[in-house]
């Protein structure tokens, strides 16, 4: 055997002797996100909700203490969830479990990694713990997903080690307009980069406030080097399908399912609409008889200080 890599260590320096290979590589982290593509990741706050999500066809669940709509309504500092609550959800389902850490709170991330969650969302939905630095995500074996409102922000997060990006929407509102804006923004900036001659990429990198090498890679390939999902404000099958048509590779649905009248039916419908995002007949069929959608909040009516998408930089 020429398995020269069998004994190398993980990025965190932990010995990999228990594994048959190298854990925590960029390929393993980014590859995990590739397997989620075309799927729906659902926010859940109890093991029962996690089971409902799994049975409805979710590709993963996001374990958190309060859905964004409640964080928004109740205010206060929003933090990482109780480990007992995360354990309960990890025990309840066999699909991947994600959990949120506050922006910059690397110890919350260490705790989540120790709990065995499959992906950490360094999330603006929680109250930031550091207004200057995000978490150094290369230091972890567990992969991270981060939010972005534009291409520069996405590339800064990838530079810090994010293995997946989700465009930010305005979480907890049921208003999809911000998700639309940010997905269009990211796609438009990628298209613009692809059309630039090579000698203009240096200034483009400066303006995007992102490393030249990453900018040049995006310009060459016409896509991010990691999977791009969308999140925030998705409440209906049509919302999910629109995000897919705009170029998202999958969707996160937060308050939209369990704050609606019939979570089981709505969860199944959003899963189907995400798969058949380009087939209006299917979207029409699954949109029938879903009961009440979550009560929406118009993003424009929210004062800027409580807009979550503006957290992170």
């Amino acid at each position: 055997m020429t398995n020269e890599n069998l004994n190398t260590t993980a990025p965190s320096g932990a010995p990999a002797e228990a594994s048959a290979g190298v854990v925590g590589t960029a390929r393993v982290k980014r590859g995990m996100a590739e397997m989620l593509k075309g799927g729906v990741i659902m926010d859940v706050v109890t093991p029962e909700q996690a089971k409902i999500a799994e049975d409805a066809g979710a590709v993963a669940v996001m374990a958190l203490e309060r859905v964004p709509a409640d964080i928004r309504a109740q205010g206060g500092v929003a933090r990482m969830s109780d480990p007992d609550m995360i354990d309960g959800i990890v025990e309840a389902v066999s699909i991947p479990v994600m959990a949120k850490a506050r922006i910059g709170h690397f110890v919350e991330a260490q705790v989540l990694e120790a709990l065995g969650v499959d992906y950490i969302d360094e999330s603006e939905v929680l109250t930031p713990a550091d207004y200057a630095n995000h978490i150094d995500k290369w230091a972890f074996t567990v992969p991270f997903v981060c939010g972005a409102t534009n291409l520069g922000e996405a590339l800064r997060r990838i530079t810090e080690g994010a293995a997946m990006i989700r465009s930010k929407g305005e979480a907890g509102t049921g208003d999809v307009s911000n998700a639309t804006t940010h997905m269009r923004q990211i796609r438009q900036q990628i298209r613009a980069l692809s059309s630039l001659p090579e000698d203009e990429l240096f200034v483009a990198a400066k303006e995007l406030q992102a490393p030249y090498e990453l900018v040049a890679e995006v310009a060459r390939t016409g896509q991010l080097p990691v999977v791009l999902f969308t999140a925030g404000g998705i409440a209906t099958p049509a919302d999910a399908a629109m995000m897919m048509q705009l170029g998202a590779q999958g969707v996160f649905v937060g308050s939209g399912i369990f704050k609606s009248g019939d979570p089981v039916a709505r969860a199944k419908a959003i899963v189907q609409a995400t798969t058949f995002y380009d087939d209006p007949a299917v979207i029409a069929k699954v949109s029938r008889g879903l009961g009440e959608a979550m009560v929406g909040i118009n993003v424009e009516a929210e004062p800027a200080p409580v807009r979550l998408a503006e957290r992170g930089w």
């Binding site: 594994s19 048959a20 590859g31 799927g39 199944k268």
Partner: protein, 214 residues
């Protein structure tokens, strides 16, 4: 004999695009399959990596499950990676309540056998038919919350196993000796994801298998 066989990639969920690229590199003509009419038009099919419970539910919702079972019984060549391996297994362990497979391979597959995402890994492995060919190198394999094969029937050919020991002689703690690639007639399955490494040799193995049938 078709020189560029048309190979479908089941496109309900998962890393469809990566399989499409690998099949192109291996000399096939890949097409996404989400509907019965699309299934009927292919010479062979790839079941991609993804979430096996989600793909199982979507297969039933879009009523592709029975046509696919019939196609497998009828001799359609199928290759499944990771979730695709689970779908091809006659028996699974660690599935959720009510989870079904398409079946066809006389194997028992354990879902999420290697552990959670923090246990996901990559390694070089010897794969029969690839690394034992003249000048053949080991295959870089990527295991993501991967299954393994617990048990195989008499007609199943084992193509790769996790070695019992690492190169320094220390025992491999999880998965030592487990089967991670196998072939049963026209059905091929791997626990790992050759589609995300840029190495198209496993797909080429499958394309050759398809060419023998067409």
């Amino acid at each position: 004999m078709t020189t560029r066989p048309t190979i479908g990639v089941l496109a309900l969920q998962g890393d469809v695009r990566e399989h499409v690229r690998a099949l192109e590199a291996a000399g096939a003509r890949p097409v996404p399959v989400r509907r019965r009419s699309e299934l009927d038009a292919v010479d062979a099919l790839v079941l991609p990596g993804g979430e096996s419970t989600t793909i199982d539910k979507l297969l039933r919702i879009v009523e592709l499950d029975e046509p696919l079972r019939a196609a497998v019984r009828g001799g359609l060549p199928v290759y499944g990676s990771c979730a695709g391996m689970i779908l091809l297994a006659d028996r699974i362990e660690g599935g959720i309540e009510g989870q079904r497979t398409l079946g066809g391979m006389d194997v028992t597959v354990r879902r999420n056998a290697f552990g959670r995402q923090v246990d996901s890994f990559e390694a070089d492995l010897d794969v029969a038919g690839i690394s034992d060919a003249p000048g053949g190198e080991p295959v870089r394999t990527v295991f993501i919350r991967a299954p393994w094969i617990e048990q195989v029937g008499p007609q199943v050919e084992v193509l790769a196993r996790i070695p019992a020991r690492a190169t320094d002689g220390s025992p491999v703690a999880v998965g030592a000796g487990k089967i991670v690639a196998a072939r049963h007639g026209r059905l091929l399955a791997t626990s790992f994801h050759p589609e995300i490494t840029g190495d198209a040799r496993v797909h080429a193995l499958f394309v050759n298998l398809v060419r023998e049938q067409v």
